[in-house]
């Protein structure tokens, strides 16, 4: 399969039934999507597939020929944080950090889709993402700041 990850084209040899999560982590070497539950329940493995948030643990590699994938590495760099990254950093939306890439990508997609999203839309967009550290308050504040900045 050939697909683009963060603007770079990759040709991978993984079996077509390997989940995208394993392909990214073990073959491409991108480790920000996490193996939190490997059954679509926690959101820690979320990546953007053609701009839409998807659970990479549930997508077989064979379905990915020609798609464009974005992980959190593609949103910005330590020197130049993207706006969602900056909002999470400044508003303490990340604690242990394990669930953070999934939240960032879901937020990034939400802002693209609904630039003026309200609290209800934010909660709906993040509903499939589990965090055990923050109690979600700091995350929601960070997302609201990111949405406000985009608006």
């Amino acid at each position: 399969m050939r697909f683009v990850v963060n603007g770079v084209e990759h040709e991978v040899e993984s079996h077509g039934l390997q989940p995208l999560l394993a392909v990214l982590r073990e073959e491409v070497g991108i480790t920000s999507p996490k193996a939190g539950c490997q059954q679509g329940g926690c959101g820690a493995c979320t990546v953007l597939v053609d701009g839409e948030p998807r659970r990479s643990c549930l997508i077989p590699a064979g379905a990915l020929n020609g798609v464009e994938i974005t992980t959190v590495e593609g949103l910005g760099t330590p020197e130049h944080l993207g706006p969602v990254q900056a909002a999470f950093h400044e508003h303490y939306g990340s604690q242990c950090g394990f669930c953070t890439p999934g939240f960032l990508l879901a937020t990034h997609a939400l802002i693209k889709r609904s630039p003026g999203a309200d609290r209800g839309q934010i909660e709906e967009a993040l509903a499939g993402h589990a965090c055990r550290c923050t109690g979600y308050v700091k995350i929601l504040e960070a997302v609201e700041a990111a949405v406000g900045g985009a608006r």
């Binding site: 330590p78 990254q85 400044e90 303490y92 242990c96």
Partner: protein, 455 residues
């Protein structure tokens, strides 16, 4: 004082939001094997047969570790604090809880390791299991532990953690009313997003480099060294980045067996628990059973407390006796009760061993105490804020284990709560403070206690 009151950026914040933070699962080493465990499918059984030959012959399997490979099979997490060891690293002739590890297979990939686990030959002779701590002392209760159904090694080899303070019989004689209650918080799974994961790399020097998600790095190093019977200087631990722990990653769960598999295979080994394993057999917060009887006066003084606690330790002791001790020291919560009679048992069952979670041993009794104080207020027809303020810890009051409070925060906290919800307090309660008791706040039953304190 640059940090207090300031909004400082997290030192790891930029790495978190850019995907650069490396958790154990994110380190890459060449020729790494994946590990999968054979775990007990039953709650309690004798192991009649364990044969790994067929599994070991599968192509791609490099090592299978069982109890026979462990230099020191039984080591207690708190042996240094006088709590003897009771738990084998891998089950030998019996299993005592569902999910207890029996063997670890290290293979070229996860699928091969899982396939080999299924090929391990094992026979069980099932035994009755004990799940309800209230039934542990019944004459016909299943025996959950070789020490008996509750921990027998508190100080002076007592089988109970006791607190005795003041004159409990006099308190109950003087009481206008006795208010009783039973409180039973259930187990809670810490559920970190990062499952238990270890990566162990044999080094050319003969040392092991151990990537660990532990919350207690030097503690885990000691546990691994003890089981291996190795000096500490042959272990290099890499850690400090924990994908959520909440107490559950104080237990050394994956490192030691992974180290044995790395030594046996001569290759790096990663053992990453599945979410199912986390739910099945990672150590939870304990279930508790707490019975309280408070001797109270009509005007809202708590004169004395009798309390019985049963703590569900699960199948092995681990940290639980320490948890029961902490629980006993805090069993009056944020309040001062001068006469106490507390008995706490650390009960064994055929559940997964329980462990720390945010306020180990104390949250359970805070839950019970706060509910019970409200219950006392309801029975007496007294405002629950006023009852709390009256009995609140003050400077110089002593805790159940005799420590004088230097900085108690109960009174200002209750004032702040009343303010936050707009609860009106009478003037004499509004002006209460945490200074040492005197005047009306030093009723006869507290004189003896306060009189003993050196100021």
């Amino acid at each position: 004082m640059k940090a207090v009151g300031a909004r400082l950026p997290r030192y790891d914040g930029v790495a978190h939001v850019t995907g650069r933070t490396q958790f154990v699962d994110d380190f890459r080493v060449p020729n790494m094997l994946w590990a999968k465990a054979l775990r007990s499918p039953v709650d309690h059984a004798a192991i009649k047969k364990l044969d790994v030959k067929k599994a070991a012959a599968i192509k791609g399997v490099h090592a299978i570790v069982t109890w026979e490979d462990v230099p020191r099979l039984v080591y207690g997490h708190l042996e240094a604090l006088g709590i003897p060891g009771d738990e084998p690293l891998l089950a030998k002739d019996e299993v005592r809880y569902k999910g207890q590890p029996i063997a670890l297979v290290a293979a070229e990939d996860e699928d091969t390791a899982q396939l080999a686990v299924a090929e391990i030959q094992i026979d069980f002779d099932e035994r009755p299991a004990l799940f309800d701590i209230r039934k542990a002392a019944d004459p016909d209760a299943p025996q959950a532990h070789h020490w008996g159904n509750w921990y027998p090694h508190f100080e002076a080899e007592m089988d109970v953690r006791q607190i005795r303070k003041g004159d409990i019989d006099r308190a109950f004689d003087q009481a206008d009313t006795i208010v009783t209650g039973v409180y039973r918080p259930a187990a809670i799974e810490q559920l970190p997003l990062e499952t238990q994961t270890a990566l162990v790399v044999p080094e050319p020097s003969g040392r092991l480099t151990i990537y660990s998600c532990t919350q207690a790095l030097y503690f885990s190093m000691g546990v691994v060294a003890a089981h291996l019977e190795w000096p500490l200087n042959k272990l290099k631990f890499v850690g400090g980045t924990v994908g959520g722990g909440f107490g559950g990653k104080v237990d050394t769960a994956a490192e030691t067996v992974s180290a044995l598999a790395a030594l046996k295979s001569g290759l790096p080994v990663k053992w990453r628990w599945t979410r199912e394993e986390e739910f099945l057999c990672s150590s939870t917060r304990a279930p508790w059973h707490m019975e309280i009887a408070d001797a109270v006066t009509k005007d809202g003084w708590i004169l004395g407390r009798r309390m019985l606690t049963l703590h569900d330790s699960g199948a092995f002791a681990r940290f639980s006796p320490y948890g029961v001790t902490k629980h006993s020291f805090h069993h009056t919560g944020a309040y001062t009760i001068p006469n106490l009679h507390f008995d706490g048992y650390c009960v064994f069952t055929n559940r997964v061993p329980t462990t720390a979670m945010r306020g180990f041993g104390v949250t359970s009794v805070s839950f019970a105490t706060e509910l019970h104080v409200s219950r006392v207020a309801e029975v007496l027809g007294i405002d629950p804020f006023e009852l709390r303020l009256k009995n609140a810890n003050r400077i110089g009051d002593t805790s159940p284990n005799g420590i004088a409070y230097a900085d108690p925060s109960t009174v200002p906290t209750i004032h702040a709560i009343a303010d936050a919800i707009g609860h009106e307090l009478p003037a004499d309660y509004r002006t209460m403070n945490r200074e040492a008791r005197g005047g009306d706040l030093l009723p006869e039953h507290l004189v003896a206690q306060v009189g003993k304190v050196d100021h």
